[in-house]
């Protein structure tokens, strides 16, 4: 079996370093956004522009298909010495992926004169300039700007003011790998040809759109198949020169595999992985930048592995070797983020997670040998990507929880645990059928998804609940400028109870989320018109059947298409709790006085701040007083966003992943009545207690979280930190019983940082000794060294649950 060291030595890791907080505050930006050995590849961009120039005037869906074909036909393909699963998105393994067709200004700025100058040399920078000239006026963002122009509302509320950040980044969505494994892309092509014959007979009104789409799907599928053949040729070429018999065998196997998939249904576990990887890398990067994985690798891969073993085609040892090499394909991936987005995705590569465990469509546990092989691999590899999402239900084997505990105990921050019994009913309420809901998966973070489901699934952006409360306490008027920016809510001096404050808060949420989603809904049309996705359509249910692109139709009850990441809920709950107790019950301070005090960042009122910190009930301590308020914050804000739909009538939902926005957006959030000072970070997960305020141990946290009704809210994120000893030896069994309890209490999610504060502090002092140290930031893990000092401190401050 190949050694982990050998694989790591051959890999260039890419994680974006956070260089901003909020929009403008620099956060150690002088260290640069990328590791010094990271580069930007220009090949895709060059080939894309080449096709765009040649195809002007043609239907956009065909232009995009032909561009993809040109890229796959002419880009560099490489097979590295350690690889058994192949497929690359850029010309060298050092490259981060930058999509200029989506947006180019920020990227150009950061590479030419900003925080990412190391990505290109002078020659590269010159070419980048040339390529950007082509996109000037044509990129998706340029078209969006043109579309918004002249509309005061859209132009104004598109901008980040601290309340929310609308963003092009990123889209999720999971391909229908089940279909890929059943019929292969040849099967899809056949399906398209049949559909073309059919419409030639039926001549529907949308004949043209259907024909264009179906032809585009065929072009991209054929291109993907031919791409496979290019790798097969390359492998044969290398095999012919190879002296080492074992490597020669591997190369020959690659050749056979890549000739067969993704065109045909895989015949082995290796072919299944290879077929997945080709389609994953094409759809998620080369065709369009998107994050996540979403593959239920054990559910789909298990049967192949069992058959391989039965037929004597492979051994466990050989499969582990294969998985290790497969793992590095993820660790090698990297996205470019703009500097302002780096604050939200601190340390992120491509935010990729695979899902293991859970129920199948019939409600049976799917755990199989591959589930364990994946955990073995994750434990041995100790990488940031791919992270693992483990679905837990009543029937999850104890052995699986024990193995998962071993992996968590290594400190890598995953698997992250998800509760089937909480999330399946939630998905059903959102409109998914029971069968679909049981097949849910995670693409990254807590981004919940249904494989293959018709969805142009993206996050509209990032929403700051704590700042929204601030608007409610200021009648929607910015006290610095006097501008009526938010909704006109009543004067806080007239509020008679905490319910009045809650109402004003909800009105502001309603106001701002509507503004944000207007931007989103208009931009969706820009995407549909200018960024069709024929390859993704090939493996998205309903597209070929209806001859429509992924954004071209939708079941209004599809449940999962539209979401918006939100953070700061815990600060809102703790703040409302403080207002209820100190203003309306104990009458220590009036609301207008409290607001004035916060406007001055508690200056001269440290006593009151301390009293609130020590005596106001805080979320995370199992205190009904505040837990019920927190539940209301979650459920009532969800009810508001669910009233908003896209043009197909599909509803929006919140998403609790938070990423690192609690840290980033904190900088733009004034003092809050919970005792938090201006600029300090917000809570680190939608369900996480505010750092340092959970005083009743892990079970106090669970008790609070259990009060938040998942069914009437959304998918949440809960971070917990434990001392490593608690997961090991005699304590392991106790940790497993704690996990069972978490599950029984109906909490949708939990994940762990298992590294001691002492170690983290030492790592700050001696980063060179800790190049491998991984921490969980939010729904993803990152290398500790990629995070700014401020964010590192924020992670250290998270309550360390002791023994």
């Amino acid at each position: 079996m190949i050694s982990v060291e050998e694989l790591k030595k051959a890999t260039t890791v890419k994680g974006v370093r956070n260089v901003r907080r909020g929009l403008n505050i620099k956060d150690e930006s002088n260290r640069g956004m990328y590791r010094p050995d990271n580069r930007m590849g220009l090949e895709r961009e060059r080939l894309l522009v080449e096709t765009y120039k040649k195809t002007e005037g043609e239907p956009m869906v065909l232009r995009r298909a032909k561009a993809l074909k040109n890229i796959l036909e002419n880009m560099t393909v490489y097979i590295r010495g350690h690889e058994r699963i192949v497929g690359n998105y850029s010309e060298t393994p050092n490259d981060v992926f930058i999509p200029l067709d989506l947006t180019w200004r920020s990227f150009r700025r950061m590479i030419i004169e900003g925080e990412a100058q190391t990505l290109l040399d002078d020659k590269g920078k010159a070419e980048l300039n040339e390529l950007c000239k082509y996109w000037d006026g044509k990129s998706t963002r340029d078209i969006q700007v043109k579309t918004f122009k002249g509309c005061e509302q859209l132009e104004k509320y598109w901008q980040y003011d601290g309340t929310y950040m609308w963003s092009h980044f990123y889209e999720n969505g999971t391909l229908d790998y089940e279909k890929l494994f059943q019929v292969g892309l040849n099967g899809v092509i056949k399906q398209c040809q049949d559909r073309l014959m059919e419409i030639n007979k039926t001549i529907p009104f949308d004949y043209m759109e259907q024909k264009n789409l179906l032809e585009a799907v065929i072009i991209t599928c054929q291109a993907a198949i031919n791409w496979g053949h290019r790798f097969a040729d390359k492998a044969r070429e290398l095999a012919a020169q190879e002296k080492d018999p074992e490597r020669k065998k591997h190369l020959e196997q690659i050749a056979v595999t890549c000739d067969w998939v993704p065109g045909n249904p895989p015949r082995s576990f290796q072919e299944a992985l290879q077929s997945f990887w080709f389609c994953h890398i094409i759809s998620k990067q080369i065709e369009f930048p998107s994050t996540g994985i979403g593959l239920r690798i054990d559910k789909l891969g298990g049967p192949f592995y069992v058959a391989d073993i039965k037929a004597g085609r492979t051994t466990k040892e050989d499969t582990l070797d294969l998985l290790r090499r497969f793992w590095m394909k993820f660790e090698e991936q990297g996205f470019a983020f703009t500097p302002s987005i780096s604050g939200i995705y601190a340390g992120v590569q491509t935010l990729s997670s695979m899902t293991i465990g859970g129920l199948d469509k019939d409600g049976k546990d799917i755990t199989n040998d591959v589930t364990y092989l994946i955990l073995d691999t994750a434990e041995a590899m100790h990488t940031v990507q791919p992270s693992l999402s483990l679905r837990v239900h009543k029937g999850t084997p104890k052995k699986l929880l024990e193995r998962a505990t071993d992996v968590v105990a290594t400190g890598i921050g995953y698997p992250s645990f998800f509760n089937d019994e909480s999330l399946i009913p939630l998905l059903q309420r959102w409109g998914c059928s029971l069968e679909e809901a049981r097949d849910y998966t995670f693409t990254g973070c807590v981004y919940i998804d249904i494989p293959g489901k018709n969805a142009h699934r993206r996050s509209a952006g990032y929403f700051n609940m704590a700042r929204t409360l601030w608007w409610a306490l200021h009648r929607g008027v910015n006290p610095e400028t006097g501008e009526q920016y938010g909704a006109r809510t009543p004067d806080p001096a007239t509020f008679k109870s905490v319910e009045d404050v809650m109402q004003a808060f909800l009105t502001q949420v309603d106001f701002f989320i509507n503004k944000m989603l207007q931007v989103e809904n208009v931009t969706k049309s820009v995407y549909e018109t200018y960024m069709p996705r024929p390859f993704k359509a090939a493996l998205t249910r309903g597209c070929v059947e209806q001859g429509k692109d992924i954004g071209g139709f939708k079941d209004p009850n599809d449940g999962i298409s539209n979401f918006c990441i939100s953070g700061g809920q815990t600060n809102v709950a703790d703040s409302l709790s403080a207002i209820k107790k100190f203003v309306f019950e104990d009458k220590e301070v009036t609301l207008p006085e409290l607001i004035k005090i916060m406007d001055k960042n508690w200056e001269g009122h440290e006593e009151l701040r301390q009293r609130i910190l020590t005596r106001s009930p805080k979320f995370g301590n199992g205190d009904e007083y505040v837990d019920s308020i927190c539940n209301e914050v979650h459920c009532r804000t969800e009810a508001i966003i669910e009233k908003i739909t896209d043009k197909y009538g599909a509803r929006y939902h919140w998403d609790g992943s938070v990423v690192s926005l609690g840290y980033s957006f904190g900088v733009d959030t004034a003092a809050t009545p919970d005792g938090r000072k201006a600029g300090e970070p917000l809570s680190d997960g939608s369900l996480s207690p505010m750092v340092g305020r959970d005083m009743k141990g892990p079970s106090g946290v669970l008790a609070s979280c259990a009060k938040v009704d998942t069914l009437h809210s959304y998918n949440q994120l809960l971070n917990q930190r434990f001392m490593p000893q608690f997961l090991k030896e005699g304590n392991k069994e106790k940790f497993v019983s704690y996990l069972r309890t978490w599950h029984d209490m109906g909490i949708p999610h939990i994940q762990f940082n298992v590294v001691s504060s002492a170690n983290l502090r030492d790592a700050q002092k001696h980063p060179e000794k800790y190049t491998d140290l991984i921490v969980r930031v939010a729904g993803y893990s990152a290398y500790f060294n990629d995070l700014s000092k401020g964010l590192q401190d924020n992670i250290i401050e998270r309550t360390e649950q002791g023994l």
């Binding site: 301390q610 106090g700 704690y738 309890t741 029984d744």
Partner: protein
């Protein structure tokens, strides 16, 4: 039984994993007839509420000084003349930042039980329950009996962590509602026991012998350098433990974690400067116990 009865409790610690089987909630009763020199919970000793200070939390608002002659401020910050303190606890009440904190509150059985029951699911999954510890729970037998009776009614496993120093008649009554006793054995020599803990061990050992046939018992041995860690002393304790039919022996190696609390209470730590025991030493003690066919664990 009187349900209005109150107990003086100084802490309820949830998620305790070293006070009996599974994951537990430990209820710490305040007041102890022993004053062991190594005591890591000095705030548990006095049988009345008192104040504990954390200077770093003080914001110098001087609210406390305005109320009390025993408190003054100088260039080094807040000073408390403990001799003048009449334990009115008003300073703790007004202190905004808990730089002065009240230790010990009189709580009803319902109040304590509510906190204990919160973690029922955790006990069920882990085989845990409630442990009553201290201080010495047997100093408040009526409250502890009622608390344990009510907990058992709810199906909660109960453990009593005791030094064993109480009249047998008192102890016997409490044990009716106890599933497991964590019984401290500190030394076999009455004189040395008295010197380090304030009382001799006759009553304790006699109670232990009567307890074992009645209730499942684990013996806990705080292993203290210079007190009971010599080869002979360990051997004596092991021999005695083996002569009783106990389920398990837990060795609790000396640590200094509680030392900072002495200053916070206005006292000095009697064992200042005592080094922790090395891993080898602890291992050899464990081996000595194992030689008597005892199930031994370190901690817990």
């Amino acid at each position: 039984m009187n349900s209005d009865i109150k107990g003086l409790v100084f802490n309820t610690q949830s998620f305790a994993i070293q006070d009996g089987p599974g994951i537990r909630t430990t209820v710490f009763m305040k007041g102890c007839p022993l004053h062991c020199q190594w005591c890591s919970n000095p705030e548990s000793q006095k049988a009345h509420p008192e104040i504990m200070t954390t200077d770093i939390k003080c914001i110098s608002c001087r609210k406390c000084a305005g109320l009390c002659d025993a408190i003054s401020f100088n260039s080094k910050g807040r000073q408390i003349d403990r001799a003048k303190c009449n334990l009115c606890l008003k300073c703790a009440e007004v202190c905004p930042s808990k730089a002065i904190e009240q230790i010990g509150k009189y709580l009803t059985v319902d109040e304590v039980l509510k906190e204990v029951l919160r973690d029922e699911a955790l006990y069920r999954n882990s085989g845990g329950g409630m442990t009553v510890s201290g201080g010495e729970p047997l100093l408040q037998p009526e409250f502890v009996t009622e608390l344990c009776r009510r907990a058992k009614e709810k199906g909660i496993h109960t453990a009593l962590d005791t030094c064993g120093y109480a009249p047998w008649a008192v102890m016997e009554k409490v044990l009716k509602y106890i599933d497991l006793v964590l019984f401290d054995v500190k030394h076999m020599d009455p004189a040395k026991h008295k010197k380090f803990t304030g009382v001799d061990n006759k009553l304790i050992l006699s109670n232990l012998k009567k307890t074992v046939p009645m209730v499942r018992t684990w013996i806990r041995i705080p292993l203290i350098p210079g007190f009971n860690d010599s080869e002979d002393e360990v051997k004596e304790i092991a021999e005695f433990s083996a002569s009783l039919k106990v389920d398990k022996v837990s060795v609790l190696p000396y640590h200094e974690f509680g030392s900072a609390k002495y200053a916070k209470l206005g006292n000095t730590y009697p064992m200042q400067g005592t080094a922790s025991l090395g891993e080898d030493k602890v291992k050899s003690v464990v081996t000595s116990f194992q030689q008597y066919n005892l199930e031994v664990e370190v901690g817990g």
